[in-house]
Symmetry: C2
């Protein structure tokens, strides 16, 4: 049964209006609310007893998309879901995940999504994941995503994660293991407000020759929220790694950024940059002279920063 | 008794040739090898039973220097020494510490120097500390310095630390607590070679309004040596903090850099940059075309980097 709440959540987290094109699996309140496999992308229930699905993408699959959104519309739903991706060689695919929680009750609702990607030789994956929660009940909305990626020779992943609003507590863990010539690019966008807490751990292991890793993390902490970032890039071969974390701090918020770069090879080249500060006064002033109120100007700057 | 070894160590670690000008205390093999107090700088043995000295610097002392080098010339000497500095208001003084170990035996020689500075209102302290060890015995040469600094309103410290060569194992810990308008600048230069290990933890707490903290860390890891850096700047008020770590990795060395910036106030502005890489090929080439051998070119670049 498709409700207004479902539709709104799906649009927020996966830009979905109506049924997705291509393969998809929609998980709703611990059940399957729709699934389509295609010729090249097979989606099946797991066989090991855990909740979740196996997604198998055939060698040479190009230009196809797979949507696997999760929505929770009830209060008191708590789940840990394991999704495993087996992506063949020479693929170029887009995977859209995301989780939306609508919790108007007083009980905690929690989704822990554990995604493991095995990406075959020379394949490229674009993986995006949006997290959003809403509901004026007193029940906490919690999401703890874990993403583990193994990139074979010449494989690459672009991973874009966004936490829009409403998630009371999140513990993110991302690990990417790069083989020879593999490349990982992670962009993380995170907004916290109220008394929310967010914790993001990331490890990129550059194990193969000419592996590349790049992390671009941008966050805004408002009100009394707090954020901790621990991105880590380890260079075990001739490789290049770059981590960039920028945060805007507002209200009574707290932000801590603890990046690590570790070189275990003379040919590893690793760079890190991080900055925490408030919105620049001159930027606000400029927009205000163009006729915006202070709130509108602030909002405009934050949107641009998190875009 | 002044030996050739003593003289050479003192020159290496404190640029001392002959007796220092001003107040000084020379510690040699767990004993006092010379002490002079001046009208404004009083040096006394501790009265709490610990090894070490109390240094009291009167209000308004300007342009004076205090040397407190430590040398160990025997194998098997192990000591923990506590030196406390009480620096009055409106001072401008230079303190030169440093430790040199000459160990030709098979036993471990270790100096753990624990320095605490209480720096009064509007006083400026320039503190430098050089560490050097030598000796072809099999005994380890170990130095574990701890430096704790409390800066009152408007006070500042420039702390320059250098580990030149020969120190087999070091665990450095530095903590600076900045009051209103106080400023801490730390420059760290560290070279490791052979199988040496170096570990440097730093915490700068920016607690007072308009406090400033700056860390400039440069290191070279050669051969099979390993280094770990954990500089941390915490902003608890309107403040500015900047951490910059650059490392050159050579041979089979390992370097890990784990900086932390933590903002607990909207007006805290914190920045961190870190880079690990090998000597740039074009720099080497340039010097080689000027007639230097590869080794000479490398040496020239490292000297410039650690200067």
């Amino acid at each position: 049964m498709d409700t207004q709440v479902d539709r709104e959540l799906l649009e927020k987290i996966a830009d979905l209006i109506g049924k997705p094109v291509g393969a998809f699996n929609i998980r709703k309140d611990c059940g399957c609310d729709g699934r389509v496999s295609t010729e090249h992308i097979k989606i099946d229930d797991r066989t090991d007893g855990h909740a979740g699905i196996d997604i198998r993408i055939l060698d040479g699959t190009k230009g196809e998309t797979c949507h696997i959104p999760v929505i929770i519309t009830k209060s008191g739903v708590e789940e840990t879901v394991y999704n495993d991706f087996y992506i063949g060689g020479d693929c170029d695919v887009e995977i859209v995940a995301g989780c939306g929680i609508h919790n108007c009750g007083d009980q905690e609702s929690r989704h822990d999504g554990i995604h493991t990607f095995h990406v075959g030789k020379n394949s490229h994956v674009h993986y995006s994941e949006k997290h959003y929660a809403e509901g004026d009940g007193r029940g906490e909305k919690i999401m703890n995503p874990q993403t583990i990626v193994y990139l074979e020779e010449g494989a690459s992943i672009q991973m874009d994660t966004v936490q829009i609003r409403g998630v009371d507590s999140t513990k993110r863990y991302t690990k990417i293991v790069c083989g020879k010539g593999a490349e990982a690019v992670i962009t993380e966008r995170l907004l916290t407000h109220g008394r929310q807490v967010a914790d993001s751990d990331m490890v990129i292991e550059l194990n193969g020759e000419d592996a590349k890793g790049r992390v671009i993390s941008r966050s805004v902490a408002q009100d009394e929220s707090s954020q901790v970032f621990r991105p880590c890039v380890v260079g075990n071969a001739k490789c290049f790694g770059h981590v960039q974390c920028d945060s805007i701090i507002m209200g009574q918020a707290k932000i801590s950024s603890v990046p690590e770069i570790a070189a275990n090879d003379t040919e590893a080249q690793l760079i890190h940059e991080a900055a925490i500060g408030k919105i620049a006064g001159d930027q606000l002033l400029k927009l205000e002279t163009l006729g915006l109120t202070e709130e509108e100007a602030e909002d405009r700057i934050l949107k641009g920063f998190l875009a």
